[in-house]
Amino acid sequence: MTPSILYIACVVGAIGLFLIMRPHRQSTRIVGTILGAGAIAFIMVKVLAGLAADAPVPILEVIFGLAAIAGAARMVTHPRPVFAAIYFVVVVVSSAGMFLLMDAEFMAFSLIIVYAGAILITYLFVLMLAQDATSTAGEALYDRIPREPVAALVVGFVLLAILSDAFLLVDGGVRPDAPGMTPSLAAAEEHRWMVLDGLPLQLNDTVAGLLDADSTDAAVAEFTIERIDGRAIRFDGINASVDVKVADESRNLVLPVSALPTNAQLVGWSLVATFPVSLEVAGVILLMAMFGAVVLARRQIDLGEDELRVAAGMTPLLEDEESDFAGGSS
């Protein structure tokens, strides 16, 4: 794939999105959908064609990705805000699927809980709250007509062109097999074992389980894990083992792969061991946002009589009427 093909595909995609944006024109929307989907599909096929022969074909990734993109496109083009929000749920669910495929199951489920469960509900709530008074006809004018779509599409798709260029075509840009790009598997695995080392209770349980399985005795009650420089687990590049002293007898136990900490544990470890300050700051940001939201929402705007009437969907009072009586009666 050469850059020019990629750029042309981006232009086609932009035209497709532009056509989808045209409101209430079924035919152009179909054409636009076909163009956009074609461009995406073309690039994806090109990428898949470059896969190594023995690599598994990422079917699920492609399906979730297409669903996410379709949801996103529909979300930004749908004239009715509530539908747009619901399409965003599609995006969130598809992204959660991709997270799962990327071994980030903890984040996948928290994404669904936090985004689909909390944030989006708030959005919907506010949408309902605000939508009610303004448009009785269902679609407000400002929701149907996009604002300066050409400029926005140019900017957005230039960005896309550059980003996809960087992701797909730059040598060594994101190629995991490029030299120096990813750590050796052994190093990554050692890091994980070291996380287990930092979880002494879990290590104890694991060792106890191993000893249970090993020994013919009914119970091995007492054992101590020997630590050298605070490290219990020794990793030789292939196997991880611990030295255990059981009844004054030293034993070397090889830990099974299943004893590795889970993904959620790894994230938690990273969160508290590597980024504790950031974690605190995030907490403070949330607290401040809560305060801010409370302060903002509490502020009362004193509207005049006419403005209140307008807000309530009524016609404003005429100026030459006696406002005292008119105000009293209404």
Partner: protein, 740 residues
Amino acid sequence: MLSAIAHTALATVAMAGGDGSHGLPAGEPFGFQVPIPPVVDEQSFALAAWMIWLPVISAILCGIYATLGVKSRLPAWTTVAALAGSFVIAVMTVSKLDFAKPVVVHLFDWIDLSWSSGSGTAGDQWHGLRANFALYLDGLSAYWILFVTFLGTMIAFYASEYMDEDKGTGYCRFFAGVSIFLFAMTALVLGENLIMLYLGWEGVGLASYLLIGYYYKKPAAVAAAKKAFIMNRIGDLGLALGIYLIWLEYGSLEFGVLFAALQSDGATGAGQYDGWAATLIPWCLMLGAFGKSAQFPLYVWLPDAMEGPTPVSALIHAATMVTAGIYLIARTMPFFLMNKASGGHALEAVAWIGGLTALLAATIAMAQYDIKRVMAYSTVSQLGYMFMGLGLATSFGACYHVLTHAFFKALLFLCCGAVMHGFGGQLDLRKLGGIRRVPGWGVVCWTMLIGSLWLSGIPGTAGYFSKDEILAQAFITEGTGFRILGWIGIITAGLTAYYTFRVWFRVFTGPTHYKPDESHGQGGHDEHHGDDHSFHPHAPGIRINLVLAVLSLGAIWLAVGYFVGDIWGTQVWIKNAIENSSAGTGLQLMPAGDHSTLLGFEPHTAMYFISGTFGLVGLTTAWWLHCANRKSADDLRTWLTARGWIAWLPRAMENKWYVDEIYIATIRFPLWIAGQALYMFDRVFVDGIGVNGTARLPKIAASLFQPLYNGKLQGYATSMAGGLALVIAWIVWVWMRGSV
């Protein structure tokens, strides 16, 4: 950067002149008294630090009082107590001090720098600048600190009554200023190095500025304060340059190190005695001294400084601060003597400028009507005597005169202040008369008589002895026209007696008449100010009288002490203090065996008669013109102005020899022209083309992009996203890929 260039340039020049032929012949003893190196002694002189800290504490307390809004006399008592404490400590310190053995009392490390030229080669030298906050106690500083703290205490006590009308913030401000002044003055006098001296030097200048401008709502006072400050800047430039050159030449600013360097004999130190910088040092120091001590041509600020409250005039502009110049030259006397020994003329310049200033100021003082101004010009004149003494290499005479002058001039000023205070601000001697007979003015009258006698140098008074010490020296020391200078001094002595007693006779004798100053008149008195007795003066209170009495007793003691030979004998004590210090004069400047004679007598003996005669002649003339025949003074003036050939004389004297006008024409006007030219340049080129023109460029550029700023949120967002896209494009295409 600039200083580095200047450093290099000056160093080069100094090098170039270094092999001049002015060096002393090797082996010949250099004839000035160099004190032995100072001993660092913090144990037995630990208390001395409080001499400098007490005024600081007092200044801080006065500031706190001002913040708290204290309306009582608390600031005055605080200041008086602090200064009295300083004085007591000074007495205790000096009584322990052996004048021949200077002592350094280290307070704290202040400046300690060292660096190399950085070349790293073998010849790379380490340079350094060390100036510790330390006191240098020797005869000279002991002598100075005694009378500075004593007069400070006395005058602060006097001011506690004098400033009564300003109780409140102004009172606090005044005494804070006095405390700051005393701090700076002690730092100046006691400083162990030239940096500390300079700190004190600038500090007294600041205090002087603050106190002259004390009545800051009065335009004349503000102008006078600015004038004093700016004139002093000129002198301070000289001092700063002098200090810099000293550091450049000797690599140190500590007195002990400097004197040791100067003392070193010709074999090792000959090179240090000459060179362009070394020749220039005394001239720079002299400029500084002339600025601070109001000598021609930098004296014009001092008469104007009388706009400040009278205690300030007495303390700062008569007794202590203006003697800082004398102190500076006395302290750095070795540099001047060195200059003379190598064929320079710095000392002669000091003597001549001092003598001529003395004469000039005396003539102006004769024709002034404002009694404080008369005293101010008299101060200039007396300071001229002191410089003459320094220039004639009798630093003993100069310093002795500093002390006597400090007492009697402070006394005179305080008397003038009492008169001004009591008579509604009236200072014009034509509008005052016969105050002697007004009830309650006896002490002022008789103490002022003592002050006048002492200033006039009537035989038997302290001023007589100290002045004669200087005048007689003019006929002993060898130098260009020193004998003529001596006669100028003698004539000046006569004029001094005349103008001093002109004031005294006019104000205190004759028919009693007075009226308040119009600008100070209160309410109903203004309507009939022609009537002498509608205005009721208030006589000075007990505190003013007490201070006046104490000061006159001090003046009398100075005179009586001359005849007493033991430790209480002032002359012996002072001679001991001065000549054991760095100000000790070089005897080799005088012919060894046979002193030159004056009218066939030994000069000192002759001077007793000559100057006494001149003084008495001046006194008699004053008596005749201003007491016995009051009309004749005006007649004389009319007679003089009627004659064309002499009419310029009284007019010039009344107009202060037009020195202020000459200043305006030669300095201020050209500066004004230059200022206008630069102002126009600034307006047209800098402001017009440079600033406004540059400012217009973005405006023009902005008008191109103005349509983008439509106030729509998403419009801005589009611009921002576009910018982001461009940045990422640059990163990907240029940075990551290396080409577009």
